[in-house]
């Protein structure tokens, strides 16, 4: 083997140009594939630095009518599970808390979680500094400790080593810093701090409010299925005990790494890995073509070796060793490509999105990724070398020994394998091109979705009022009223609105709907659900949503007056088809009746929505919450309004910070960044694939022209003119396209079917993908063939006839 490798090195250095081309092609393929694997490793395999992560699960409630649902549980549920479970070592509960960090310069909105002391036991992560929570800190009154994330410690406290024991203020309440977690740990994302949950006994016995998130560590040797079976039985106990609100619920247990990745990230990652592997395959085919040319020049040598008794396996090994060597060199160079592309991805990720991607910070080249790279390189070496090696080892020895004595030219058999390789490249490149075209067009279509009119002229921000200073609805509504009043009068503001959640803000609130005079839940249809959004009267003009019928909220609706609601066209279509909805009443499960006073135009709340959901708007004065979004429409750059907004808030409450300040356009862009990444990555991969396919066709045709020099000379001697030769060479390229493109089109249709669920605003049979891309590819291939074809026409017949 060592001799084979030594020989391979020697031969590679003999023709460094061809070797360099092969190394570069594989470097791009292996490098991009490595970077995609690195993303999968960071986001899917090890999103959190939790030891033995595959034993850590999340437990939630699941609606029997919707197996994909994953709801929080009640404190009573948690207690029942914690006391009864035998499949888990430890269970922990948490609840998100959006707090304002005050008392350390300007107030800063931060997100964290209230957790039981068992939380860190489940995670098994030792703090970087200090300690985690003690059992006694689970009790109310002993719960003023806080553990900081590494990120918050660095960002807000300059990574001060004296942080332990320091008192910080969270939403006006004092907490003592007892620990700092190591870098990369943020759970539930995007937690920046943890405080004890410390529920009272009365709260622990509550079985109505579903607000706790549960995680746990499985007993050693317990499988996920065993845990699922056990919690299903335990959920059955709860359903029997509380049939009214647990009757249609079961338990759902998932690995924590699956839950934290969300629904779309794993699928996006799979798409990009598949695309990168496709590209690597193209690179392998390309290198196989180059290897084939090298092998052709060694037919005589191999024949001599064969004649001297070399076993076939030995000959085969010689060629494959050369390919593996090329691939390993490609992998070494590919690591630079991977590092560069990962840096590019990291630097282009907005921080406000990165917070929601556990593992993103740890994106990079680690041992596992390097192992993947090495494995890929060996596989690529075998794939690219095996075909030429088999061809060579099967060629009859005698024929090759007399190779140079031939008196008739013949290339068809030699070209068959290379033609097959290049046609394959064309087919795979077309799959990538059409897939990328669909994703890019879909992504652009999302950008054009009629969410609102001119979102670039709207400034948005989020305000979370601390409960201890705004304990009831009246206090919240008073703050909101003053803020709206102040902002509406600010110079440059055309209109100002508040809402519980903006479209595309990744926050939704759904509720069961019962129409007056129709069966109520339970017993009603499970799909009787609508989104609920609290708004101020100016919401529609600010966001540019049309009010189709009835009247907008005046802003004077009081909690004691008749409760009024505006519904969307989709709501009317679902609940009042062919009926007049105005004046009709419904309730949202809490017993209060809402009367419909208007109908608004539909609006998509996220790009994955194929059609607008039914939506109910309620006046903020009758149903407001302490956490809300503010939207301001202006005629110019919305960011110029920021000083006035800050001042307006400061005038009302100087300790109140603003969060997520950005234009509505930016908010939409941030929410679609995942699909944007996929579209960009696919575009790059498709571009490289196109280049490699073109290079493949060029190499093949250039090689073919070189090999057919003598034949071209004969044809010229027989009276062939330039157009004849040009046609002859081009026909070869066209034949490759004629085989590769239909195969690619058929494969693209299959790929488009798989991609269908990720395509928004575009059909999977889009003409761009299935007409324009094949045409573009054909043109590129013809252009690739032009240089060799023109070179062929300049052949001197006299020289050609002497060519061997």
């Amino acid at each position: 083997m060592l001799e084979d490798l030594r020989g391979a090195v020697h031969r590679l250095f003999k023709k460094p140009g061809a070797a360099a081309a092969a190394v570069i092609a594989l470097a791009v393929g292996i490098g991009l594939s490595t970077s995609m694997y690195s993303v999968a490793d960071a986001l899917l395999l090890r999103p959190l630095p939790i030891p033995d992560i595959d034993r850590v699960v999340m437990l939630g409630a699941m609606s029997e009518s919707d197996p994909a649902s994953f709801h929080s549980v009640t404190p009573y549920d948690f207690s029942h599970y914690a006391l009864s479970s035998r499949s888990t070592e430890t269970l922990a509960a948490s609840r998100p808390w959006a707090a304002n960090l005050t008392g350390a310069g300007d107030p800063v909105p931060i997100e964290g979680a209230r957790v039981t002391s068992s939380f860190f036991e489940v995670m098994r992560i030792q703090p970087l500094l200090g300690r985690v929570f003690l059992k006694e800190e689970d009790s109310p009154g002993s719960d003023r400790s806080v553990v900081l994330s590494h990120n918050l410690w660095e960002r807000q406290f300059g990574a001060s080593p004296d942080i332990l024991g320091r008192t910080i203020e969270l939403s006006g309440r004092a907490f003592q810093v007892v620990g700092v977690m190591p870098k990369g740990f943020t759970f539930p994302p995007p937690s920046d701090f943890w405080v004890p949950l410390a529920l009272t006994f009365a709260e622990w016995t509550g079985s109505d409010a579903f607000y706790l998130r549960v995680c746990g560590r499985l007993q050693p040797g317990t499988t996920l299925d065993q845990a699922r079976a056990e919690f299903k039985v335990l959920a059955g106990d709860l359903a029997r005990q509380f049939p009214a609100n647990h009757g249609r619920l079961s338990a759902r247990v998932e690995l924590i790494r699956h839950r934290v990745s969300g629904d779309l990230t794993p699928q996006y990652t799979r798409i990009t890995i598949a695309a990168a592997l496709f590209l690597l395959f193209i690179a392998c085919l390309n290198v196989a073509g180059l290897q084939f040319s090298r092998v052709l020049s060694r037919t005589r040598e191999m024949a001599v070796r064969g004649a001297l008794g070399a076993p076939r396996l030995r000959l085969l090994r010689q060629v494959v060793a050369e390919s593996i060597l090329v691939a390993l060199a490609g992998a070494a160079l590919g690591l630079f490509v991977a590092a560069w592309s990962l840096d590019l991805m990291k630097s282009s990720m907005p921080p406000e999105v990165e917070r929601f991607l556990p593992g993103w910070q740890r994106l990079g080249l680690n041992g596992l990724v390097l192992f993947y790279t090495a494995l890929t390189a060996v596989a690529a070496g075998i794939v690219s070398g095996l075909g030429p090696a088999l061809w060579l080892s099967r060629t009859p020895i005698l024929e090759n020994l007399h190779e140079s004595g031939r008196s008739a030219t013949g290339t068809a058999a030699r070209h068959r394998l290379r033609n097959f390789l290049v046609a394959g490249e064309i087919a795979v490149a077309l799959v990538l091109l059409s897939g990328a075209a669909l994703m890019v067009k879909g992504f652009r279509a999302i950008g054009r979705l009629p969410v609102t009119t001119d979102p670039a002229r709207v400034l948005t921000l989020r305000i979370t009022l601390p409960q201890h200073r705004y304990p009831d609805h009246l206090a919240v509504a008073a703050f909101q009223g003053r803020l709206l009043d102040s902002l509406s009068r600010a110079p440059g503001v055309q209109s100002a609105a508040i809402t519980s959640n903006l479209p595309y803000s990744d926050s939704t609130n759904r509720s069961f709907v019962t129409i007056e005079g129709r069966p109520s839940i339970p017993g009603g249809r499970p799909q009787d659900v609508a989104q609920v959004q609290n708004i101020s009267g100016s919401f529609f003009p600010t966001l540019g949503i049309p009010l189709l019928r009835g009247r907008a909220f005046s802003g004077a609706e009081s909690r004691d007056a008749q409760r009024t609601a505006i519904v969307t066209a989709a709501f009317v279509k679902d609940y009042f088809p062919g009926e007049d909805p105005l004046g009709r009443r419904f309730h949202l499960g809490d017993g209060a009746w809402w009367t419909i006073t208007g109908v608004a135009g539909d609006v998509l709340h996220n790009f994955t929505g194929r059609a607008p959901e039914p939506l109910v708007y309620l006046p903020y004065t009758q149903s407001g919450w302490g956490a809300f979004d503010v939207a301001l429409r202006t005629s110019g750059d919305p960011y110029t309004l920021m000083p006035q907004v800050r001042q307006a808030v400061r005038d009302i409450d100087p300790s109140q910070p603003l969060a997520l300040v950005r234009s509505f356009r930016k908010l939409i862009d941030d929410s679609t960044i995942g699909i944007g990444y996929v579209a960009s990555i696919l575009s790059v991969l498709a571009g490289v694939a196109l280049f490699l396919a073109v290079l493949g066709v060029y190499s093949l045709m250039a090689g073919s022209v070189r090999e057919r020099t003598r034949e071209i000379g004969i044809r010229l001697a027989l009276g062939a003119r330039r157009p004849h030769i040009l046609r002859m060479v081009f026909r070869e390229g066209l034949l490759l396209a004629a085989v590769g493109i239909p195969v690619g089109l058929a494969s693209s249709l299959g790929a488009a079917t798989l991609l269908r669920r990720f395509l928004f605003g575009v059909t999977s049979l889009d003409p761009l993908a299935f007409v324009a891309m094949p045409l573009a590819l054909t043109c590129a291939l013809l252009a690739a063939g032009l240089i060799p074809a023109l070179r062929a026409t300049r052949t001197d017949p006299l020289i050609a006839l002497r060519h061997e």
Binding site: R406, S407, A408, T409, G410, T411, A412, R710, E711, G713, I714, R715, L716, A717, L718, G719, A720, R721, R722, H724, P797, L798, L801
Partner: protein, 232 residues
């Protein structure tokens, strides 16, 4: 140029220049070949035989001098015009046969006619006639690799004949053949000559040179002797 000359070379020279060295491959060649004549060109290696044949076949152009083919000056034609004349007026027979391996016997013979833009029915008729003449009509679907050297050269002769050229130019046509096959091919050329073909052949072999009506000996790019042979 005499009235009956099909080919006339007048003071043709060919000089190859490589770096600082000038090589005079042909120096002042005067040669006439009449219609129906069978001429051989003989001489030692490097005397300019192949260069002369290449100029006669319009594969190369002279450095100076005049070349007239069927009354037309052809020494300064453009590439396309030379190709057209090569296709219609000249039939090549090479030492290495130069058949195209990926084409069948039929397709190889048909090739010059396709460059002429001839209709397929006419092409078929002519190809079959040509293959009949060389005795290879039973091998139309074979590939060159399936034929012996002698058979390949017969196919090459058929390809040279198929376009009814004014002259057949043969460059050592027996050079790659054993003596039996070589004689068979020479017999074929003699038959063609008897039936009116004009042939100009380069050969080393004095036995075959004698088959021609006239033998021209070259030495250092000059015609040093012309002799009349005995045509069978």
């Amino acid at each position: 140029m005499s009235d009956q000359s099909m080919i006339s070379l007048d003071g043709v020279t060919k000089v190859f220049t490589t770096e600082d060295v000038e090589t005079h491959a042909l120096a002042g060649i005067h040669l006439d070949i009449r219609k129906g004549e069978y001429v051989t060109i003989a001489g030692p290696s490097g005397c300019g035989k192949s260069t002369l044949l290449a100029i006669l076949g319009l594969l190369d152009s002279p450095s100076s001098g005049a070349y007239t083919l069927n009354g037309q000056a052809v020494q300064n034609l453009k590439l396309g015009d030379r190709a057209r004349i090569r296709n219609r007026e000249i039939g090549f027979i090479f030492q290495a046969f130069n058949l195209i391996g990926d084409l069948t016997v039929y397709e190889n013979v048909e090739l010059p006619l396709t460059y002429r833009g001839m209709g397929s029915a006419e092409r078929r008729k002519r190809v079959h006639e040509a293959l009949e003449r060389v005795g290879m009509s039973h091998r139309v679907k074979h590939y060159p690799s399936q034929l012996s050297g002698g058979q390949q050269q017969r196919v090459a002769v058929a390809r040279a004949l198929v376009g009814s050229p004014s002259i057949l130019l043969a460059d050592e046509p027996t050079g790659n053949l054993d003596s039996a096959n070589g004689e068979s091919v020479m017999e074929l050329l003699s038959e063609l000559h008897r039936s009116g073909a004009t042939i100009c052949m380069v050969t080393h072999d004095p036995r075959y040179a004698l088959l021609a009506q006239r033998t021209i000996r070259l030495f250092d790019g000059r015609i040093v002797e012309e002799s009349v042979g005995t045509v069978s």
